[in-house]
């Protein structure tokens, strides 16, 4: 249980939102979309190990 990951995710989320707002206001909608997508993929790469760890733990615990 690491609170650091939550802080990181919140920071990335806020940064990406601000960046995409700035890009959208300066008329570059396509860049703002890619910034959002990049942030999403970044967060997912942090998250996927936890998902697999959860499934491994459940498998080991309940002997599935």
């Amino acid at each position: 249980m690491s609170i650091a990951l939550l802080f990181k995710m919140a920071a990335v989320g806020i940064l990406v939102t601000i960046l995409s707002q700035i890009l959208k206001n300066s008329g570059r909608d396509e860049y703002s979309f890619f910034v959002g997508l990049g942030g999403l993929i970044l967060i997912l790469t942090w998250l996927v190990p936890y998902i697999s760890a959860l499934f491994d733990t459940v498998e080991a615990l309940f002997q599935l």
């Binding site: 249980m1 990951l5 939550l6 939102t17 967060i43 959860l54 615990l61 309940f62 002997q63 599935l64």
Partner: protein, 127 residues
């Protein structure tokens, strides 16, 4: 088990998710997913002892350990299905959530069939 840590963790996560949800909803959902995953991992680590204890009880009763294993398996399937269904309901996909729940029910039913069959066999022996 330090409940205070869990409560604080959930509080911080909820506040962050609230802030992010007002800005961009999918980020808040991802954050709440991360928090839920971490809490679940922590709790399951704690449950390991209880599971071992349950399987240990099975040793005292004849044939009980196989049934207890099936029971544990059913609990595991239900937990995973519930988690995933709640996750997809959170993201607004209640159709997928319903299907996942149905999957879990059918899987548990299939698990229970051997027990039902053995019960019927026992009854047949008495007749």
């Amino acid at each position: 088990m330090d409940v205070q840590r869990l409560i604080l963790f959930g509080m911080v996560a909820a506040v962050f998710a609230l802030v992010l949800k007002s800005m961009k909803s999918e980020w808040g959902q991802l954050l709440s997913l991360a928090a839920a995953l971490m809490i679940a991992l922590y709790l399951l680590e704690l449950c390991k002892e209880a599971g071992d204890f349950l399987l240990g009880i099975g040793r005292y009763v004849e044939n009980a350990s196989s049934y207890l294993r099936i029971l544990l398996k059913a609990v595991g399937i239900t937990y995973l299905c519930e988690f995933t269904a709640n996750l997809s309901r959170d993201t607004g996909n209640s159709l997928i959530a319903g299907q996942i729940e149905l999957c879990g029910k059918i899987a548990v039913l299939l698990l229970g069939i051997p027990i039902l069959a053995s019960l019927l066999q026992v009854l047949e022996g008495y007749l």
